[in-house]
């Protein structure tokens, strides 16, 4: 059985369209220093650093980890870079956790980031090799057909996407780090915005953000010395699958189902809606809330939109999803997965401030990436497992 792993420090930067006031290294240091402060540690207390970001073309910095090594306190220490497209923030945290669970290190700093303003993610996602023609225009162009297929398969009414767009942005108003703050956001406002990639409207998509998120993960012994209450890892899982194969379910990928089943088994969860208190789930397009509700087993197939419509996933619902405002409100792509993981931990530490879910004791952090083909998830709890 693996050693216990605690989250003893969490640091986030404010998420903004452009952080012109800091370099890339400065952005990472801002998040890392806040995580170290939360953990009551300094750079020298860290045994190893695990860093993650989305594909190199996003900023055009090839292999950013050697260039950033000294800026993130990795001099003379093991440094590892993780790379699993949009799910990378989650898988980076999982790799860091495994170094604690395997007994290799006592305190590991893990950081993920993106400075989207320095490049163009849509361009980076749309480059093709000379042998293929692709008509995918950024992530929206890729996911829109699969959302349409979900709507048709489930019979969901058209307005469900707008409901999620409103709910997550209302939550963002309670999160000091959130990027999009739209006071008075309403279903009508969302429905008035143009279709970018029909059926996806402008306000049903995530923003482009600069930002970083960091965590300090620790062994049980190290956690005892931490000044603030830790969160504990109850399970971690990753899965991947090819983007195209015969028989692939692109609406509800098998990789996501298998990943969820694995992490629930580790945490002893059989009914996620009842046994989890909240979830931070990677929802970059609003329709992915009902889609992932089904994929993650919070309800039966075709029932996700009913859960959303009932208000169950709202901050005052029985299973709040994305109390932080989620990816729909802040999206520094490489960091977006780690923010989900960190926000889940904040909830069970009781540190989520205005967007705290009352009495949260167990929470799910989730990320996905590529053509919905990389999945990473963890379950964290207020009690040591």
């Amino acid at each position: 059985m693996a050693n216990a792993c605690a989250i003893i420090g969490i640091g986030q930067t404010a998420y903004k369209t452009k952080r012109l006031d800091v370099s890339m290294a400065g952005l990472l240091r801002e998040a890392a220093r806040r995580a170290l402060d939360d953990a009551g540690l300094t750079w020298k207390d860290i045994d190893a650093v695990v860093v993650g970001k989305a594909p190199d073309l996003f900023e055009g910095v090839m292999m950013p980890e050697p260039y950033l090594a000294d800026a993130i306190g990795a001099t003379g220490k093991p440094l590892m870079r993780v790379h699993t497209a949009g799910s990378v923030g989650g898988s980076t945290a999982i790799v860091a956790a495994s170094l604690i669970q395997g007994g290799v290190h006592e305190r590991v700093l893990t950081i993920a980031w993106e400075k989207q303003s320095e490049s163009n993610a849509t361009w980076a996602l749309t480059v093709n090799s000379p042998f293929t023609t692709s008509l995918v225009v950024g992530a929206g162009g890729y996911f829109a057909p699969h959302i349409r297929a979900y709507m048709r398969r489930s019979g969901a009414p058209d307005h469900i996407g707008a409901l999620v767009a409103v709910k997550d942005r209302e939550n963002a108003l309670k999160n000091p780090y959130a990027h999009l703050k739209i006071p008075g956001i309403s279903r009508e406002m969302v429905e008035m915005t143009p279709m970018l990639w029909e059926p996806i409207r402008y306000l049903e998509t995530c923003p482009s953000s600069d930002g970083a998120c960091a965590m300090v993960l620790a062994s049980e012994d190290a956690a005892k010395k931490a000044p603030n209450r830790p969160a504990w890892v109850h399970g971690t899982a990753m899965r991947s699958e090819p983007m195209m194969f015969a028989g692939r379910d692109t609406v509800s990928p098998q990789g996501g189902k298998d990943c969820a089943a694995d992490v629930y088994r580790q945490a002893g969860i059989t009914d996620p809606r009842r046994e989890l208190d909240c979830a931070e789930v990677y929802v970059p397009f609003s329709w992915y809330e009902p889609m992932w509700l089904e994929n993650l087993g919070f309800c039966g197939e075709g029932e996700g939109w009913k859960l959303t419509e009932s208000g169950a996933t709202a901050l005052d619902g029985d299973i709040p999803w994305n109390a932080s405002g989620g990816v729909l409100s802040s999206n520094p792509i490489g960091a977006s997965g780690m923010i989900r993981f960190a926000e889940a931990a904040l909830q069970v530490r009781g540190q989520a401030g205005e967007h705290q879910v009352d009495g949260a004791r167990r929470a799910l952090g989730h990320a996905y990436g590529g053509g919905a083909q990389f999945f990473s998830m963890w379950i964290v709890g207020s009690e040591k497992p």
Partner: protein, 309 residues
């Protein structure tokens, strides 16, 4: 345009001016490439330095203070059409600049880059902007030793270019050879028996080499699609439809353009066929197929395509 003068007075060689110890110190330091102020009895630093405190008329202390060279713009005025007497020949700002460590600001020209004559001031030109002097190489001891001020460096450009020599591999070459002859080739997985198109040489699901080449018809069914309202150079117009098309007999869909029908009339289950470019334009590329267009056949029911979405 102002008319040319018809009477000019110019004192031969120019008047002389004794600058005195305080302004003299300022000019001498300028010639050395330094900005200097003087402290008043009240502790303020005046730049340019003066012999007296303008607020109290008392002598200044004689304590010189090196300031700047960086400073902050306290206010500015845009010059969209410079005159020939102006220090710059393109639009610029007159700015009051308070050097770091000084309590007063000095007036100088601020060069914010290349703009067409008559241009509006750029948005980044703001009170509070951080600037630095651009020193002349040959300095003589005067305020003109500073050619102008420039914004501090906040952004650099990092041009990046990667060149690859790519090879498609045997299977892809075979597929493109087919396309160059007007054929769409797939291959069948010996385990799941599905036809994979474009052919890959392996089955991504079962992880085994494929063995049987299969030629597919040019007809198929739209399983799902997006109506794209964001322009793209690869599409003829906006809105355009990118669709997953299940070729008849294939085990998986291909992403293609669907045209020849208004975007709002494309349907899931719609029957389509490949529209090939004229044969003389064909090469070893999928671009040989311009797009898929409607076939005059009834739509397939959703049940028939559901498992391919």
């Amino acid at each position: 345009m102002p008319s040319e003068p018809n009477h000019i007075l110019e004192f031969p060689g120019g008047y002389t001016r004794s600058v005195g110890p305080v302004i003299g110190r300022f000019f001498s330091d300028l010639r050395d490439g330094r900005l200097t102020g003087v402290r008043t009895a009240a502790g303020k630093v005046l730049v340019p330095p003066a012999e007296y405190d303008p607020e109290t008329s008392e002598d200044t202390t004689g304590e010189y203070v090196e300031v700047g060279p960086a400073g902050t713009v306290t206010t500015w005025s845009w010059v969209p059409r410079p005159l020939k007497e102006h220090p710059l020949d393109r639009p610029f700002a007159w700015a009051l600049i308070r050097p770091d460590g000084a309590d007063t600001a000095l007036l100088h020209a601020l060069d914010v880059g290349v703009f067409e004559e008559g241009a509006k001031p750029p948005k980044f030109l703001k009170t509070g902007m951080r600037v630095r002097p651009k020193w002349r190489d040959e300095r003589t001891g005067g305020i003109g030793d500073i050619e102008c001020f420039l914004p501090e460096v906040t952004m650099i450009n990092a041009p990046t270019r990667l060149e690859y020599r790519m090879k498609g591999g045997r299977t892809l070459q075979r597929f493109l050879e087919g396309v160059s002859e007007g054929r769409i080739l797939g291959d069948r997985c010996p385990v799941c028996e599905q036809v994979i198109v474009p052919m890959k040489g392996i089955c991504p699901r079962d992880g085994v080499p494929t063995t049987e080449e299969v030629e597919l018809p040019h007809t198929g069914t739209v399983t799902t699609f997006a109506v794209n309202n964001i322009p793209d150079p690869r599409a003829p117009e906006v809105p355009f439809v990118s669709a997953y098309v299940l070729l008849d007999g294939a085990g998986l869909t291909m992403l293609t353009l669907v045209a020849g029908i208004p975007a709002d009339q494309v349907r899931m289950g719609m029957r389509v066929k490949a529209a090939w470019r004229p044969r003389e334009e064909w090469g070893r590329t999928m671009n040989n197929i311009k797009w898929f267009e409607p076939l005059d056949e009834p739509d397939l029911p959703f049940e028939a395509i559901k498992d391919y979405t």
